[in-house]
């Protein structure tokens, strides 16, 4: 059963990487993406959520808005999660800013959900920012 999951995950990822899977994930405009819904591991399954993370993080990188938490980029969360699913590891080890493993780790489902939410949030925030940034400019939208 475990092997079957691994094969399914690997196939899904291979499809995404090759571009064949892109039509299987809905692509609404970036400001209407619902991270909570899209990244729910329980309802969508860990492989699907990881596929979503890969898809949206790719766009976030292209737009220059990829998230990074402490020393770890979202790409590293994704790679760590992919490795864990491949090897059957239960936890993803967190990396420091030099890319070296730390003593801390999170469960695979937590890492996948975080990677997905980070990818989606980067895009929704980018879209939102286009309409809100002027509100902080003195002499423009910012009043005091």
């Amino acid at each position: 059963m475990k092997n079957l999951y691994s094969i399914l995950a690997a196939t899904g990822l291979a499809l995404v990487i090759s571009g064949c899977g892109s039509s299987s994930v809905s692509t609404p405009s970036n400001d209407t993406l619902d991270g909570k819904k899209l990244c729910n591991v329980e309802s969508n399954g860990i492989e699907t959520v990881l596929v979503t993370a890969v898809q949206y993080n790719k766009i976030a990188k292209e737009h220059g808005v990829e998230f990074k938490r402490l020393g770890m980029t979202n790409t590293q969360y994704i790679v760590g999660s992919q490795e864990a699913l491949k090897t059957g590891a239960k936890r993803v080890v967190l990396l420091n800013k030099k890319g070296k493993p730390t003593k801390n780790s999170v469960t695979v489902s937590y890492a996948v959900e975080r990677a997905c939410k980070f990818a989606v949030s980067a895009l929704t925030q980018e879209a939102e920012g286009k309409n809100t940034w002027r509100a902080a400019v003195p002499g423009d939208g910012f009043k005091y």
Partner: protein, 306 residues
């Protein structure tokens, strides 16, 4: 008669060019003045204006740590312009600044490198970078210009954040400060104005998993405290680079001096986002906007920060 027509035409053309060139910085000037007015108003009397500008600060902090009536020019000192306690330790460090020997190293590197001497015959140019290159249609940073100079002479690029790059820039900054020059930013075309606007948008846009903009901390947040640090203000933020940060130099003095790009990359990381590459269009346009906000202020680098 013909000569008069030629002269008049030339005069009209020249005047038109000058007026037209002046138009492109209208928005940037409005932004710079509005920002300066905001900072001056904010720090006029922090204690009295607590509700408006510092609702979460303690009375004691506002009374004993934030100076009053700060003139615009003083903001080039960063948060030491208003932080009484910060200025006390700053003055002590400045008695014997840790970057002095690094300026000397920068001067030696410059004097030993003919390519650099050829590309930068005048070393008092720290206030003129970054600028918009009308031929290349892009912003040129001092870091980028130095590396381009090295590469064109068949030499290897330097690290864009520290080391030789920061040492030579500190020599340029020191020489510019000694020459009492000011930040001299220009916006003379629609392309330059567009680059400025993109830099401005980057600065004011919330980003990263913490959803912070640069302005959250350094415009609206300027003067507020994070842990034990008072946040510096955007006005004057670029006048003193490269800076020696005690944090960077804790293991090795040579690592303490860093370029503005190094600092900005760190800031964007703190917001929770992968920072733009040091010599990327985004980074250079961000620096262009920031430098414009300090236009006309004295260059006073290099300097020391925590």
């Amino acid at each position: 008669m013909l000569l008069n027509i030629v002269k008049s035409t030339a005069l009209v053309a020249f005047t038109s060019c000058v007026l037209h060139a002046g138009e492109f910085n209208v928005q940037a000037e409005k932004d710079r003045i509005a920002l300066g007015d905001y900072m001056v108003a904010k720090f006029k009397d922090a204690e009295k204006n607590k509700d408006k500008f510092f609702p979460y600060s303690t009375d004691d902090e506002l009374k004993n740590n934030i100076k009053k009536d700060i003139p615009l020019e003083d903001f080039s000192m960063g948060n030491y312009a208003f932080s009484i306690q910060g200025q006390f330790s700053y003055n002590e460090i400045k008695d014997m600044p840790p970057y002095e020997e690094l300026i000397e190293q920068g001067e030696e590197i410059y004097n030993d490198n003919k390519a650099l001497q050829k590309c930068f015959p005048d070393v008092t140019i720290a206030g003129e970078y970054p600028y918009f290159d009308e031929t290349k249609k892009e912003v040129v940073s001092l870091t980028g210009a130095i590396n381009e100079c090295l590469v064109s002479a068949g030499q290897k690029k330097w690290n864009e954040k520290k080391g030789k790059m920061a040492f030579v820039q500190s020599y340029f900054a020191y020489s510019t400060t000694e020459a009492e020059k000011k930040v001299d930013m220009k916006i003379t075309s629609a392309d330059a104005a567009a680059a400025y606007e993109r830099g401005k948008e980057f600065y004011y846009t919330q980003r990263g998993y913490l959803k912070l903009s640069c302005a959250t901390c350094h415009v609206q947040g300027a003067g507020k405290r994070v842990r034990n640090e008072s946040l510096s203000q955007l006005v004057g933020q670029t006048t003193h680079f490269p800076v020696y940060r005690l944090k960077w130099g804790k293991d090795k003095v040579e690592n303490g001096l860093g370029t503005l790009e190094r600092r900005m990359a760190g800031c964007v990381k703190d917001q929770g986002q992968v920072p733009p590459k040091t010599n990327s269009k985004e980074m250079k346009e961000l620096l262009y906007f920031m430098a414009y906000m300090s236009n006309g202020m004295n260059v006073d680098g290099p300097d020391v920060r925590k």
